[in-house]
Symmetry: C2
């Protein structure tokens, strides 16, 4: 990593720290002058970012701007994924839910299920549309995991393979039925 | 941008959306199975990110991992700066502060000031240490803006130039004195 990148990283770190200090002060002392300075400083953060990526990727300023647009999208999508992971932590850590959330849960009769398709299942090698799966069962297949790949929002012509893992949403009864159909215990749809 | 990058971006978008859907469902239906799936999927997000940057920057997988560490630091520092900007917005938009914050404000006798050094100021061309500025005035100079550059956390040997902008913290009286000293109206420190 070039010394330019190192210096720019240091400047970025110092500037963001200063901005946070100034922002706290601006709020505490209701100082609009300082608050405006923080807003202006953000432009400098963006310039530092551009310059830093110019050096890091050894590209032109124009290309750096283009790359930043991709990087920002990637990092934003990643932060959505991180939010989802944190949300899941609530369930995995057995955190106590607020009564409001419990109320919402009680009123919902929907459920979700994750189930693997057996090769004996009536669904094997059929398309969702061909089975009129949703209208016949009231079950919405929202995703299919096939090996290491995911199929999002499966379409009518999506064929179900044995060993597919289905994520499905429906009433509690529908979800129980889904598990039976997937395993081959229930052959009627 | 290569078609590989486009495809990987699309997959990243779909996967992060699916994860959020699944995470909401996991919380709603208290389903640990689904919650675990979300956590596992985050590893896939990180793999997609690596692969995407490999193609975007035309580098090896190993180099991609290294670049990601820099990108993550840059983007995190930027999000700190963005937080500071948002915080400043509270002051600039004249948002009504919660009584608790108003109480804190009332109890604080500290203030902050932003002031420009006149060439007639007694501070011009002197170092902060040489003037024993802090102990003599009770004023803490936390940053200096010189032209377009910032000096963070000025040291004892930092010399004050005419036209420098000082950000200083101190009691309300100290801050008023700071403005007078900077302008040259007050020649005693």
């Amino acid at each position: 990593m070039g010394s330019n990148v190192k210096e720019l990283l240091e400047e970025l770190k110092n500037l963001s720290e200063l901005m946070l200090d100034l922002a706290y002060s601006a709020v505490f002392f209701k100082n609009k002058d300082i608050a405006k300075e923080v807003v202006v400083l953000f432009d400098e953060i963006e310039e530092l970012e551009e310059e830093l990526y110019m050096h890091l990727f050894a590209v032109s300023k124009r290309m750096s701007k283009k790359l930043i647009s991709v990087i920002e999208l990637v990092e934003t999508l990643k932060s959505v994924a991180m939010a989802a992971k944190n949300l899941s932590g609530i369930v995995l850590d057995d955190k106590i839910l607020h009564p409001i959330i419990r109320d919402v849960l009680k009123e919902s009769d929907e459920s979700i299920t994750k189930t693997k398709i057996s090769k004996n299942s009536v669904m094997t090698d059929k398309t969702l549309g061909g089975m009129k799966f949703r209208s016949n069962t009231g079950i919405d297949v929202i995703a299919i995991k096939r090996g290491r790949r995911w199929i999002f929002d499966p379409k009518k012509n999506t064929k179900i393979h044995p060993e597919d893992t289905l994520i499905a949403v429906g009433s509690v009864e529908s979800c129980e039925r889904m598990v039976k159909i997937a395993s081959g215990k229930q052959t009627e749809i």
